[in-house]
Symmetry: C4
Amino acid sequence: MRDENETARLEAFSDSVFAIAITLLVLEIKVPTHEEAAAYGLAKSLAALWPSYLAFLTSFITILVIWVHHHLIFLLIRRNDHLFLYLNGLLLLFVTFVPFPTALLAEYLLHPDAKVAANIYTATFLAISIAYDMLWKHATQNLLSANASNDKSNEAIHITKQYRFGPPLYFAVFLVSFFSEAWSISICLMLALFFALRDRPTKK
Amino acid sequence: MRDENETARLEAFSDSVFAIAITLLVLEIKVPTHEEAAAYGLAKSLAALWPSYLAFLTSFITILVIWVHHHLIFLLIRRNDHLFLYLNGLLLLFVTFVPFPTALLAEYLLHPDAKVAANIYTATFLAISIAYDMLWKHATQNLLSANASNDKSNEAIHITKQYRFGPPLYFAVFLVSFFSEAWSISICLMLALFFALRDRPTKK
Amino acid sequence: MRDENETARLEAFSDSVFAIAITLLVLEIKVPTHEEAAAYGLAKSLAALWPSYLAFLTSFITILVIWVHHHLIFLLIRRNDHLFLYLNGLLLLFVTFVPFPTALLAEYLLHPDAKVAANIYTATFLAISIAYDMLWKHATQNLLSANASNDKSNEAIHITKQYRFGPPLYFAVFLVSFFSEAWSISICLMLALFFALRDRPTKK
Amino acid sequence: MRDENETARLEAFSDSVFAIAITLLVLEIKVPTHEEAAAYGLAKSLAALWPSYLAFLTSFITILVIWVHHHLIFLLIRRNDHLFLYLNGLLLLFVTFVPFPTALLAEYLLHPDAKVAANIYTATFLAISIAYDMLWKHATQNLLSANASNDKSNEAIHITKQYRFGPPLYFAVFLVSFFSEAWSISICLMLALFFALRDRPTKK
């Protein structure tokens, strides 16, 4: 029971961090100034914010997918150790960082230096996928719950396994960001949607 | 037990997102600058912020009502599936977005372009009500708890059903926002209060 | 069990709102600009921020005390109804609003219009104490847990009762704020400390 | 059971506060302005933000370590009293304050007045370590769980004991900050990493 409590609290803390990071994203969408609205009209000023909406949407879906997968890891384990606590901390470090590259991308997507913003944006997701992979490897090798052998668990393992393609995929996206910021962001969004849709189990 | 844990964590995550979105609303009320206070006095400058208070209040009550209804769905179900996770994610996407149209409305309610702000404000609530409806339909068709037949559940079903008028009602409000920003916001506030008051069960 | 879950989720949501409101307070303390630091030195510029620290501290302790008392109500009850949900929502409305009057007070405490800021600051706490009182009255009259008769409960009732002096006390502070902003804020801080220290039970 | 619930809610509230404080840190990293990007290029402007990254990282790891230790205290106890509630409140007061000195340090680390920023940054961590020590002393002397005698608990006690070197160590760092801001911040980061790594138990 103590062990469950321990995992429960770690889940609660992680959930809060994911929830706050995902909700802070909206603060990066800046209301147009009255000068902009006077010059172009409010509707056009809002339309010109599309890089903000795109960055918000991509980051939101990516964090949501990571949260769902994080949630699946915790279904499989009922224990933790100190290394797990700090690997989880490493994952949370990169997750809490996401609002910064999101704001950066929103601000600079239409700017000559957009590639730099795309580099940092994709590098953040690469770092998240590596931290997630380390957490998952440590968990499956050391912390599997004794009763982790039923169908549900197998399904979770199956689904989560797919996410282990994360690091090479996000490394590829990172490389793409040196050639085209537009392609790299589009692939980020598609990857998040792909992971979300692939999760749908074949049957229940 | 595993299933309950699963739902519990989804509830905890959603609660955090609702709680953060509802609390971030206050950041959109801007303290008057010293220039404004010097020109008009602090009391008058604060009174001139009434669109901010109105937007804060309307968004707060609306999010609170959605949270209460979200809470009622989870009383009825004790399982979830991946589609439910992502429909819930879609709902949370629109909920976390609310601080932006709230700030936009507060800033532009007294501006010639107020209708544009009202369009986006009411469109956000329309999107929330549609996402809620999809979540509710999927839950009642696939995820009803086996013991969802007692009085309490019937009551919850009864109350929640009313909210299914949400999409047509908010679509009407969205249409109204093209003719009068004042009326559309007033109706938004009244709808939220109406849903809150209708919820009071006839007897316990 | 269902009822407990229901209360548990309401507590979790409320806790998150309290936690976020109390943590957002720090955003109102603004780092001195480089111009200020150049003109007066960083140490002096930071010292000049004392109204921000005072407002932060007073609001922090007041929210903490309300949270502790909110927590005591929930020890006594294990059920809720819809009126309770919305009275709790009213309390949370005023709690989430606190960062605004806190920022206002920090900005205008040394300004000729300081009394206006103190009026709104103390009025917010008056509103909180009234909403708390309504919540408490409704809870004790309708929702007392069947097993709310042991020593712990009596103690909680005893402690919480004291807080019912809240509305008249905060109304007095509100009146004082029309004569002296300094006294009204000092009394706010002392009241919060008094409620915190009085809570210490005579024996365990 | 009531006692466990009581502790559970205190943990949940504290977890939320830790989670929000750790996630708000990122708001202090400011996206470079278009003027800066035009003058130096975006890459150079981002590189010039290294004090922000350093302050973010140091504060993040320190709060994470405190959270882990806070978590260990709660593994040992299953009761609380009012003094514990308010000592915990004192700890949370300093934890919620952390984003301010973090922003201050990020803004002034390369400024002639950097020592003032380092004083306040290290003083905040000193205050946290003292509040933590008071909480821990009160807990071990009054609130130890009856079943706090198994191996896990001994391990937790062992690990947590190390953290009691916190106050003298952070006092030393505070003194160092009067001579060298660079050394004091480096030691802060190293201390946090040291506490994180020392936590790894010798065996499971």
